[in-house]
């Protein structure tokens, strides 16, 4: 059936299908041939699925990276910060999860996308553009990761609507900061606007610096041909 499942790792925090009550705005999941292993369902999780009007406290992040090691890293970092995580190894797979391609009928309620920049095929920038061009997805905050400090690249991503550009290797403090980009639905417009402004101000005043002023910048004369 779907070959996507070989590379498609679903967080263990998802409840078994039979535990889902009515599907609500929080998420509708159809997992075929899923590799969801046994796990426990937390009370708040149950409430989120059974009672659509209750506040969703858990955040689901979609992480995109072609490196198996980096996927392991980002998944652990995110879970450590209490996020639910789904990892995929390409922009195409990310779009499938987000429902653009919709071929597997997979739909998740993704609150944040964190993607590597340099990937074969669709780069993180291409994925960012696709997300921002899709009305159903453009409100999802997107964060780009890269191992290279290339000012043009950073600027392009921020201008295209990325919330932040994180230098690899990603640290726990970077991941904890992601919470700032995730807003409750009622506040989404207000917070997005102000954080967008914040990004631009910081970028303008600090030149090539990324948002994390504590980070040493690594000068790079090399640009990877993605």
């Amino acid at each position: 059936m779907a070959s996507i499942n070989e590379e498609f790792e679903v967080s263990k925090a998802f409840p078994p299908l039979e535990d889902l009550g009515r599907s609500g705005p929080c998420a509708t999941m159809f997992l075929e041939n899923s590799e969801v292993t046994s796990h426990t369902v937390t009370k708040s999780h149950q409430e989120a699925f059974v009672n659509p009007t209750s506040e969703v406290t858990e955040v689901h992040v979609l992480a995109v990276d072609d490196s198996v090691l980096d996927r392991k890293m980002i998944e652990t970092l995110l879970r450590n910060s209490s996020y639910k995580v789904t990892t995929v190894d390409s922009g195409d797979k990310a779009l499938e999860v987000l429902g653009i391609e919709g071929s597997l009928g997979l739909q998740f309620n993704i609150s944040l996308i964190i993607t590597d920049y340099c990937m074969p095929g669709m780069t993180g920038y291409d994925l960012l553009k696709r997300v921002k061009e899709t009305s159903a997805l453009k409100e999802i905050p997107v964060v780009i990761m890269s191992s290279e400090n290339v000012p043009n690249r950073i600027q392009r991503c921020l201008e295209e609507g990325a919330k932040e550009f994180i230098m690899k290797p990603v640290k726990l403090t970077d991941v904890e900061r992601l919470k700032l980009h995730i807003s409750s639905p009622q506040m989404s417009c207000h917070v997005d606007q102000s954080s967008k402004l914040c990004n631009k101000r910081k970028f303008a005043s600090e030149g090539c610096e990324t948002q994390n002023t504590g980070r040493r910048t690594r000068p790079s004369g090399l640009t990877v041909v993605a």
């Binding site: 090691l69 392991k72 970092l77």
Partner: protein, 151 residues
């Protein structure tokens, strides 16, 4: 006491790896992520790194042996290797990657061959040291001790 001796060995080995520049503070991040929920995290990451690196090294060797040499391909693989060594905190491997990319950029065949040899050496070195570290951890846990918390 056996556990105490093993713990001291582990501390000494870990400290020397940092002091001699084999590992940088990214490895400390990994240690912080290993906890009760993720007891085997470092083991898993080291295994992934080893497998990924061996794959890349095989590809690099093949690419350098194929005429004409595809330097862009070399650059792409070294970029991957740089990324993964950076993620695990393997500082010396990462440093060789930087030099390697410079040689690939200038299409310096001799430089690339040398860099490949060097990277293989550094990789096998860090791999064996990390394996020793993990083995000590296993021994400590098996003897009923707990892992010392690193500064």
């Amino acid at each position: 006491m056996e556990v105490l001796r093993l713990q001291q060995q582990l501390i000494e080995l870990t400290n020397s790896l940092f002091q001699e520049g084999f590992l940088d503070d990214q490895f400390t991040q990994l240690q912080m992520l290993q906890d009760a929920n993720n007891p085997d995290f470092i083991q898993e990451v080291v295994t992934l790194f080893a497998e990924d690196s061996e794959r890349i090294l095989a590809e690099l060797t093949k690419t350098l042996e194929t005429e004409p040499i595809d330097f862009k391909r070399i650059d792409a693989y070294v970029h991957q290797f740089k990324g993964s060594s950076s993620s695990i905190g393997a500082q010396r491997v990462k440093a060789v990657c930087v030099d390697f990319r410079a040689y690939a950029e200038t299409e310096n065949r001799e430089g690339c061959c040398q860099a490949l040899q060097q990277i293989k050496q550094e990789f096998f070195l860090i791999k064996s040291k990390l394996e020793a570290l993990l083995q000590l951890e296993q021994q400590i846990l098996a003897a009923g001790g707990s892992l010392p918390v690193m500064e």
